[in-house]
Symmetry: C2
Subunit: 400 residues, 2 copies
């Protein structure tokens, strides 16, 4: 395998860069947004639609796939690529994030610093030891134990091209001391993940050329972020994820990225986990992030929101709004997606109000395509030295 990441362009006015991640199922041009197929399907869409609309790589969630249908069944089917009929690159998270975030009542609440409604349920649903996380299934309440070794074993069975180390997700309100202890444990778990990955005979796996990304923690504390970035970067991973609590709001998240990236090596790709708002993509790229994933385009679609090129609306259009009732235009003018090439706002407004499944399909497809096209524009701008112009055109304000 060639080096996992090669840089092809840099922006002169920011930390932004373009590059290529090389995987067993083909190259991924960065910066990249990856649609999330939580349970082996990007909700309501086919793999061919994703490919036709520019998806290069998708993400699967280890936690969900482990619980149903199970990594062993997926491995017997030839791995997730074959099972779901997606022949491009796949990344799986470690399962750690999901184990905790589903218990916390949605990571959005945590990241945004809102106190969980039932914090006492945490101890009932999940328990952390030095060795493992013990949790109950969201499906049937059954008891499960995840260790770093188990996470890698599960990810080996799924067969994604990029795996991620198993980590603990401390609550945002944990404070410096707990965050530091949790970070140290995540570092020890990172070493166990690496060992588990390299000990496994590759010939038994559905995908023999899996990459393994480390994950940087440290919460909102600059000293911890620096320590974690330097530690994880020294361990020999194929790339780096920025995980853990990212702060209470968007400015704090941007600060966390800015305090982490300078301590990462240039020659490893950097993935900011679970981020996909339009402004966050630009701010992440400007601070040196290469890879993003988020459920937002399909989740927004299921809830009747279309992404549009309008910063004044925060890039969101509520399709059930009565103003669309007789609007014969597309969701977004000049959008090349199937939805916008084919259907009017009036039709989609009607379908959504009538609770027709096709509304969800058409909105999900548009929203995914919208972010994929946005990132293609960003890559093109970086290649042509115009990133600041692209940023200003999208966000309606200058870069920096």
């Amino acid at each position: 395998m060639p080096p996992a990441f090669q840089i092809t362009a840099r922006d002169s006015a920011s930390c932004a860069r373009a590059g290529v991640v090389t995987t067993a199922h083909g190259p991924v041009m960065t910066p990249v947004f990856m649609p999330v197929g939580t349970r082996g399907t990007v909700k309501s869409l086919t793999p061919h639609e994703l490919r036709d609309h520019g998806a290069q790589i998708i993400l699967g969630n280890t936690y969900h796939l482990y619980l149903q249908p199970g990594h062993e069944l997926i491995a017997r089917r030839g791995g997730l690529h074959h099972f779901m009929a997606w022949d491009g690159p796949i990344l799986t998270d470690s399962g750690g994030f999901q184990v905790f975030s589903l218990v916390y009542g949605g990571i959005a609440d945590e990241i945004k610093g809102r106190r969980p409604q039932h914090a006492e349920r945490l101890t009932d649903m999940v328990r952390v030891t030095e060795d493992a996380v013990i949790f109950k299934s969201y499906l049937d309440g059954s008891r499960h134990v995840f260790t770093p070794e188990r996470s890698i074993q599960v990810q080996h069975g799924i067969g994604a091209d990029i795996m991620v180390c198993f980590d603990e997700l401390p609550p945002f309100r944990a404070g410096y001391d707990y965050t530091a202890q949790s970070m140290e444990r995540t570092h020890r778990w990172a070493a166990r993940c690496l060992a588990a990955h390299h000990e496994r005979p590759r010939a038994t796996l559905p995908n023999r050329d899996q990459l393994l990304f480390g994950i940087v923690h440290g919460g909102v504390f600059p000293a911890l972020r620096q320590a974690s970035a330097e530690h994880i970067s020294s361990m020999g991973f194929d790339g780096i994820c920025i995980g853990g609590s990212l702060g209470a709001d968007k400015p704090q998240m941007y600060d966390v990225v800015a305090m982490t990236v300078p301590h990462l090596p240039e020659n490893l790709a950097r993935h900011l986990l679970g981020v996909g708002d339009v402004d966050d993509l630009f701010e992440g790229v400007a601070r040196g992030i290469d890879m993003f994933d988020c459920v937002s385009p399909t989740r927004l679609g299921r809830h009747g929101t279309a992404l549009v090129r309008d910063p004044a609306r925060r890039w969101k259009l509520n399709v059930s709004n009565a103003a669309l009732r007789e609007d014969d235009g597309p969701l977004q003018s000049d959008c090349p997606c199937y939805t916008c090439r084919t259907f009017s706002r009036a039709y989609i407004h009607y379908l959504y109000r009538a609770k027709e499944l096709l509304a969800i399909r058409l909105l999900s497809l548009h929203n995914v395509a919208f972010l994929l096209n946005l990132m293609a524009e960003v890559r093109q701008a970086l290649a042509e030295g115009r990133f600041a112009d692209c940023y200003a055109a999208w966000l309606g304000k200058p870069l920096g």
Copy 2:
């Protein structure tokens, strides 16, 4: 316009025939099955998928489209073809069937002779006079009045290529006297529909070349079916629907068809409303039916059933069956649909159990394609003088 229907082949051993219905949006090769897009969308599927899988014509429901989004809005959007992006032929029913069947608690109960659970609700939800049907909306309880003229006005606004006359649907248990009176009223309404259609200036309509089909009633009574067939056939319609109560079971439905068809002219296409089981399609064709429609392929898909070529299973496979858990084969071997070309039974079993929307899409697409391909086989067999062989191969028993 050329004659609306031309016969291209006849079977020597039955009343089956092949032909072409000519419409403003192109020809329809018969015998044909038309997928039902109740509310301007064949549930979960795009018009391009339908076309790619062989759909020639689809059906829209006047009752639903009238209530939401309304025929006037559809007309302002350029008609249903443009609104839903389907440029092939469309047929709309008259609304009568829906007004009654939704009140009766599902027409399947009625056709099968099961007594409605709450027959007293009928008078509350719908009332019939010589002039009109007064009914309450299933959406919001609002009061509406449908007359034959109103039904045609609504169907003019929708702009389908084939319209159907407004009729009263008497309950199956109505008996001879009520069925005869109701049939006479339906005949008077047929004359009013014809007049309303011909009086309207075509230049104001989204589709200037709409055909109008009459509808034959008479319940299960041979004398009434003959009288209705002869009366409706003499009125100058572009084609004939067989409607009304079709009996308590499949044999009685076949009898109703057999007692009606001989009294219809050869040169008009015949549509058996709301029928789409595999055996019913063959038995209908054998008795001289040219056109069929049914919600079954998409409804079965939403409920986890795949159509398969197996009379012993009544052509149905329950995809949530545990036997499919590790089945790497397609839903139906040799099926050319996207679902069967791409995905395994194991994946669809998993998706359906996980309640993923993609399961509904993939099953709906397969089931629709399955019936479209079946009818293409029937047409080919008729053209080649092999209908009896085709019947025997599908139903596992000889024709006749």
